[in-house]
Amino acid sequence: MSAKHPIHIEVNGVAHDDTVAPRLLLCDYLRETLQLTGTHVACSVGTCGACTVLLDGRPVRSCLMLAVQADGCAIATVESLGTETALHPVQRAFHEEQGLQCGFCTPGLLLSVTSFLADHPDPTDDEILAMLGGHLCRCTGYRNILRAVRAAAESMAASAV
């Protein structure tokens, strides 16, 4: 049995000090060790995007990362969006525009979208689609997802004014 490795990770603003096996995947650390089950594992080869979390603000595939690689980093999962009483504008847009059906791909997608809109507050459809290319959805056909991203961009721009 290999030596466990200490890690210090901030997850959704909460600091965690843990000792983990090097081979523990980040997605499993989040889901099993921290019991944050909002991040989903669907393909395990980094293609579908369901496992996407934010690492120091950038979207990454948590199924393609070892937890030890995130030592010293800040992770945000879907549970970090919104508050107890209010949804984040991106969550609200997906809710209102029905940018989901079964919802399994949704958490990873929301995080990518949040990060994307921070960099592209007024995105073109082509820019949105290029970002969405990294997220597979088997239910919606993507059109409501595109609508939801546009709606989120508009509502965030409106409240930023």
């Binding site: 989903h40 579908c48 989901l100 088997r138 059109r143």
Partner: protein, 720 residues
């Protein structure tokens, strides 16, 4: 007014916050964890199974084998599958042992230590070869030919002799993987009342319960099946998969257990859409009257029967399309092979049948020198037409309505002006229409039961609806609440739905056959109305339970006659493609999809079903190629099996919802879930032909296939 409103679905809140609990999210570390030993070979006899090293491994509590299964036979239709194989493995996904351990890692490590000695058996990998007298048998006790069904109407042979034009072609379709994003997972435990509780994701919790109880030798009421949040189904959760494994372990060890499959295990371990090879010969008169259609269909049923009977029936009844053809001879065969079992997948044989029917229309039009629209108008079904199965179509034949509406919108042009095309890229348009049954067909008992309880809370009226309709993402829970609210004249917020527990809700039938809105919806509406009739006042709680039974259907006799369905939904699609003639890459640029939905209970949900089905249809037509060679899967993950991304589905999708009330549906609602998958591949093939002059007959239309088809026509591609 609830019905007809695009109300935001109420489960969206939990889904956007990550609070929604899918089966794997309910796994607790203190449960015992399971890992299956898969056969990973397509046909072999188990000579010996040695689990000694596995049992001795760290953390292992037990290794279960076939001997531990009280009644080791199950299946949706034919009980030809085993929970754990005892003698022969028939496809790579068969399970032979189940390891139970204190952690998932320990279970998987130990699974690798189970040593199985196999004697490989001769492979049966082609359904046509499987029918030969001397072919090796997949199941020793029965022939490889599962079913041969035929439909005979009129006299096809002499009719073909009389025809002015006869067209022949052969088509092939491939497997399709459901690829619901949530891989199989489940937990099971014994509750305080001594009942076995299984929590997973299924399309029909009552039938899952029936099969699980049978396997364990328990009465139905000792077993409770619950659905957690279901991450997509599309027909892929119609058969049992992980459920009998967690049930067996929990019941045997009397401890809570958990299991989750990897994507690769999911792909290996559950059924696929049936591949078909279909030869068709159609004949017509010069004036465009289609006189005769002869078809031979051969389907690969894989290792176990699953829904093969129903899919074959669906394919043979749709292979001549929605046309009034007086002379029909159709022979359909489905065979056992050592490939993955084939079973239910959204469309259920109709996509395969329509790929042929609508492609034959295009070829016939071409041979006649007629516009395909003229040909369709001359032959499309009308109210009262007789099906080849001998009886009049169920009332509400709206194929002409959707066809004309689709055509009109397609000709009106897309919203944006077409961009300038690169050299060697050709644009083409295609059209196809179709029909798909709503509800269980061919005499299968069809109905749903709902209970509606009326009561008051703090003086305010409330209702609780109980019906076990599975929410698999399609929004059925929302739609059923809307129907109840409408019938009870209550606001939506006052109506609660209890659905996901066999001990708390009555049987609604499966989430399949586009049936829940119509069948469970009628049960809910009728129960609500019955409850209101029972009611004295809101302050006195009352309840009513109604089982809605649909109009009867029958099995088909030896000549294929009977009443296959009580309801059809109709669809027409126009597709615009761009084909890069030098690479074979096809882009779908625009889709117009017209649907006869009866009544849109929730227009947003209806549109979601159409758009979602179109994306799966894009995959079926272009990107999704499920490859199996000598019984082994070459595409076991999402880097090899390619689902369409947002960049692969057309920007311009126009849905046309035609609302002509269905005679049986609640508020006239019909069904829409599968419809958009039915004609799509044929519409794309038609568009590719329009663009390039090449006929494509083999699904999916990969760049290589299209490239070769274009080369074969030697159609010159002029470079300006």
């Amino acid at each position: 007014m609830s019905v007809g409103r695009a109300v935001a679905r109420d489960d969206a809140y939990d889904k956007v916050t990550g609070r929604a609990a899918y089966p794997a999210d309910l796994i607790r570390p203190e449960m015992l964890h399971l890992a299956a030993v898969f056969a990973r070979r397509p046909h072999a006899r188990i000579v010996a199974l040695d689990a000694t090293r596995a049992r001795d491994a760290a953390g292992v509590v037990a290794v279960l084998t076939a001997a531990d299964v009280p009644y080791n036979r199950f299946g949706l239709d034919v009980a030809d599958q085993q929970v754990l194989c005892d003698d022969v493995v028939r496809y790579v996904g068969d399970r032979v042992a189940l390891v139970v351990a204190t952690s998932p890692a320990a279970a998987r490590r130990a699974a690798a230590l189970v040593h199985v000695t196999y004697d490989d058996l001769p492979l049966v990998i082609d359904p046509l070869a499987a029918m030969a007298d001397d072919a090796p048998r997949v199941h020793a006790d029965r022939p490889n030919l599962m079913h041969h069904r035929r439909i005979v109407a009129g006299d096809v042979e002499s009719a073909l002799d009389r025809c002015d034009v006869v067209v022949e072609a052969t088509f092939t379709t491939s497997w399709q993987e459901h690829a619901y994003l949530q891989p199989e997972a489940g937990t099971a435990f014994i509750d305080e009342q001594g009942r076995l509780v299984v929590v997973s994701a299924g399309q029909w919790i009552h039938d899952d319960r029936r099969q699980i109880a049978q396997v364990l030798g328990l009465p139905d009421d000792r077993v409770v099946v619950r659905n957690a949040q279901v991450g997509g189904a599309f027909g892929g959760r119609e058969d049992l998969s992980i459920q009998p494994l967690v049930a067996l372990a929990a019941w045997t060890l009397k401890r809570p257990v958990a299991m989750q499959w990897t994507r690769e295990e999911s792909i290996l371990g559950h059924h696929k859409r049936h591949p078909f090879t279909i030869s068709a010969t159609w004949g017509a008169q010069r004036d465009g009257t289609i006189v005769a259609a002869r078809s031979t269909l051969i389907a690969d049923g894989g290792a176990y029967a699953s829904s093969s009977s129903g899919v074959l029936n669906m394919a043979i009844t749709t292979v001549q399309g929605p046309y009034a053809i007086p002379n029909v001879l159709t022979d359909g065969y489905v065979c056992y092979t050592n490939n993955l079992p084939s079973g239910a997948f959204r469309g259920f044989g109709a996509p395969q049948g329509h790929f042929v029917a609508e492609s034959m229309i295009a070829r016939l039009a071409d041979a006649l020198g007629l516009d395909a629209t003229v040909l369709r108008r001359a032959n499309l079904y009308r109210e009262g037409n007789i099906e080849p199965t001998g009886e009049p179509l169920p009332s509400g034949v709206h194929v002409r309505d959707v066809f004309e509406r689709c055509l009109e919108r397609a000709r009106a042009g897309g919203a944006s002006t077409p961009r300038r095309l690169a050299p060697a890229v050709r644009r083409g348009t295609g059209i196809a229409c179709g029909m798909k049954n709503v509800g269980f067909p061919f005499g299968y008992p069809e109905g749903a039961t709902a209970t509606v309880e009326l009561f008051a809370v703090d003086g305010g009226p409330r209702a609780r609806v109980r019906t076990a309709a599975a929410e698999v993402g399609q929004g059925t829970h929302m739609a059923l609440r809307q129907i109840a609210a409408e019938a009870l004249s209550l606001p939506l917020a006052a109506v609660e739905l209890v659905a996901d527990d066999t001990s708390e809700a009555p049987d609604a039938g499966s989430a399949s056959a586009s049936r829940l809105t119509l069948v469970a919806g009628r049960a809910v509406k009728d129960a609500a109305e019955a409850a209101l009739r029972e009611q004295v006042s809101w302050s006195i709680p009352c309840a009513a339970t109604v089982t809605y039974r649909t109009p009867p259907t029958t099995a088909l006799d030896a000549r294929g006659h009977g009443r296959p369905n009580f309801c059809y939904g109709y669809v027409a699609q126009a597709v615009e493609v761009e084909v890069d003639c030098k690479t074979g890459v096809v882009r779908i640029v625009r889709v117009v999809s017209a649907h006869d939905v009866g009544r849109a209970i929730n227009p947003q949900l209806v549109e979601g079903q159409i758009e979602g089905a179109i994306a799966q249809a894009v995959g079926y037509a272009l990107t999704e190629e499920f490859r199996v060679e000598r019984g082994r899967v070459l595409t076991p993950n999402f880097t090899t099996y390619l689902l369409p991304t947002a960049l692969d589905v057309p920007h311009a999708i126009e849905t046309i919802v035609v609302e002509i009330p269905d005679p049986n549906g609640p508020y006239g609602a019909r069904g829409v879930a599968e419809m958009a998958l039915v004609p799509f591949a044929a519409a794309v093939a038609d568009a590719i032909h329009d663009a390039t002059g090449a006929w494509v007959c083999d699904l999916p239309f990969t760049p290589e296939r299209v490239f070769r088809a274009i080369a074969a026509t030697r159609a010159p591609v002029a470079v300006p």
